[in-house]
Amino acid sequence: MAIDSGSTTVPGAQHRKRSWFYKNRIRLAPWLFLAPGLIFFFIYVIAPIFESIWISFYAWDGLGEKEWIGIGNYVELMDDERFYTSLINNAWWLVLYMLAVPAGLAIALFLNQTVTGIRLYKSLFFFPFVISQVVVGLIFTWFYNPDFGIVGIVWRFFGASPPAILADEDLVTFGIIFAGLWPQIAYCMILYLTGLNNVSPDQVEAGRLDNARGWKMLWYVILPQLKPATFIAVVVTVIGALRSFDLIAIMTGGGPYGSSNVLAYYMFETALSEYGFRYGYGSAIATVLFLIMLVYISFFLWRMYQDERG
């Protein structure tokens, strides 16, 4: 982009006056375009990240003076039963949420046809993603109700006494993850439907000539072409799993006895607790969550960087 922006292009007296700006317009312009957004983003997103890490070294109730306690909050975390419960639950979220990727692919394959009305079917299958997680949480809370939820009806139909899923320490997290999978599968499905749309018909034909069918075709011909869709699906699912907050807040509030807590909710609960704010300790939890996320963010950025160069 070697543009000689000398004032020779458009001669005139008024240009001579602002010639420094004129000469440097290509260099200045991006900063002028960037300034409002960048400043805004810096104040509300970038700076708070570092502030949070900084606050995590203090004891602070949000009102009084901050008191420097070094790694005190982190030391406390090491002995915090609830922190470990949250961490383990986060691991379950990460693992089980991944089921959304193959499930989304399966539904996409099922719907990738051209029969009449299929477009409407596709949009209706996508429906759950558009709805707020608050609503999803309420629906499933009600489903899980042993007295009048669908779980109660199904269990009683088989003559068993229904479990109170959301009140059971061993089941509660899985119940919430199951609710979360519903919209997440819809999201992955739409990614794969778009991906399938762009699968090259020539390669599919070539595969058919080579006698590739069914699973073999899927594995060796289709899936490699769906790689970008898979990548995005995995990224959004990981982010979704680590961000899980709404469902837990609506369905259990982290209970019973903190057994369905995840880091995102535990942090919120600690920092804005009814028993007094613990900004410092909350920030320490947030920092741990941030570091976990950073692994994925770095991976994503590294992939993007390869793309940018390539």
């Binding site: 982009m1 543009i3 317009r25 290509i26 312009a29 991006p30 375009f33 960037l34 409002p36 957004g37 960048l38 805004f40 983003f41 509300y44 997103v45 970038i46 700076a47 708070p48 990240i49 606050i55 990738n112 046809q113 029969v115 209706l124 759950p128 558009v130 709805i131 707020s132 997680q133 608050v134 609503v135 309420l138 499933f140 009600w142 009048f148 009806i153 990614l191 991906g195 599919v204 011909v221 289709i222 970008p228 869709a229 995005i232 680590l242 961000r243 907050f245 709404d246 995102a264 942090m267 900004y279 939890i285 947030a286 969550l289 941030f290 996320m293 950025l301 993007m304 960087y305 793309d307």
Partner: protein, 283 residues
């Protein structure tokens, strides 16, 4: 096309597919169907244990009206509009500027700054929570619609910039180059040449951000306290406490909260999906 087009299959398979399709959809949307049926039931049905059967009476208007009469659902919905619409406008217009700057100019900072926006888009909300709340309290923006709008717009800039930058990058660069040679100023190039070309991206981003913000619950909980600024998502939770065991009203309120993004999705489906699946098709 994969899987094999069903119309080339035997008649049995074809008919089987046509039968399974609606059944699968029915099961998939069963939760929504159930909540809809509940929302038009009389309270007596629920007390009598008629939860999943046909309602004994259809109280579509009565129940939904009751939600508005007995709660502040109307205020909450209006708050959601007051939060969502300005956020969409602010975030999308600012990202047109940032996306343009990061795609058209090749300066040293273009890629690093782009990555800052992308990374910021992925951070967990909790790492921002304490400082953002503190900042809002100190600037008098806590518990105001304005405060929530400002934060949402700033945060959404990450995603919007990623989107816009990639979209503008895919435009033919020769257009801009030849305009420069003709002596068109940088701002005019942006305004008269690039902006009309990114209209589809603006549409896609707008519907996406609308849905994201409308459905936000976390920030509404952190930054808003009073009913005067509470959006419908957080409002529905409040209603849930208020309408204890009046499931027909809770269901109706939940569906009310879900309607605007659903309408948005159906009205702008093409743009919505194009936005959501950006990057899902190219290597």
């Amino acid at each position: 096309m994969f899987p094999k087009p069903i119309e080339n299959s035997a008649a049995g398979v074809r008919i089987g597919y046509q039968i399974i399709l609606p059944i699968a959809l029915f099961l998939w949307l069963l939760p929504l169907l159930a909540i809809f049926l509940t929302s038009i039931r009389p309270a007596a049905d629920i007390n009598a244990g008629n939860i999943f059967g046909m309602p004994s009476d259809f109280l579509l208007i009565e129940n939904y009206l009751a939600v508005f009469q007995q709660s502040k659902a109307g205020v909450y919905l209006w708050n959601s509009v007051r939060i969502t619409v300005p956020t969409v406008i602010l975030a999308v217009s600012l990202s047109c500027l940032t996306g343009y700057a990061l795609s058209v100019y090749r300066f040293k900072w273009a890629v690093p700054l782009f990555f800052v926006f992308v990374a910021g888009n992925f951070v967990p909300f909790q790492i921002l929570m304490v400082p953002v709340r503190d900042l809002s309290v100190n600037t008098g923006l806590y518990d105001t619609v304005k405060g929530l709008v400002l934060f949402h717009s700033a945060f959404q800039l990450g995603f919007c910039t990623l989107f816009m930058r990639n979209f503008i990058k895919a435009l033919p660069f020769e257009l801009i180059e030849s305009a420069r040679i003709d002596g068109v100023s940088e701002f005019k190039i942006f305004w008269y040449l690039v902006l009309p070309l990114v209209k589809p991206a603006i549409a896609a981003l707008s519907v996406l951000i609308f849905t994201f913000i409308w459905n936000d619950f976390f920030w509404a909980t952190v930054l808003i306290q009073g009913d005067h600024a509470l959006p419908i998502t957080a409002g529905v939770r409040a209603l849930n406490g208020q309408f204890v065991s009046q499931w027909q009203l809770v269901s109706a309120a939940s569906l009310l909260a879900a309607i605007p993004p659903v309408l948005m999705f159906f009205a702008m489906q093409k743009h919505f999906i194009a936005g959501l699946t950006l990057g899902a098709t190219k290597g």
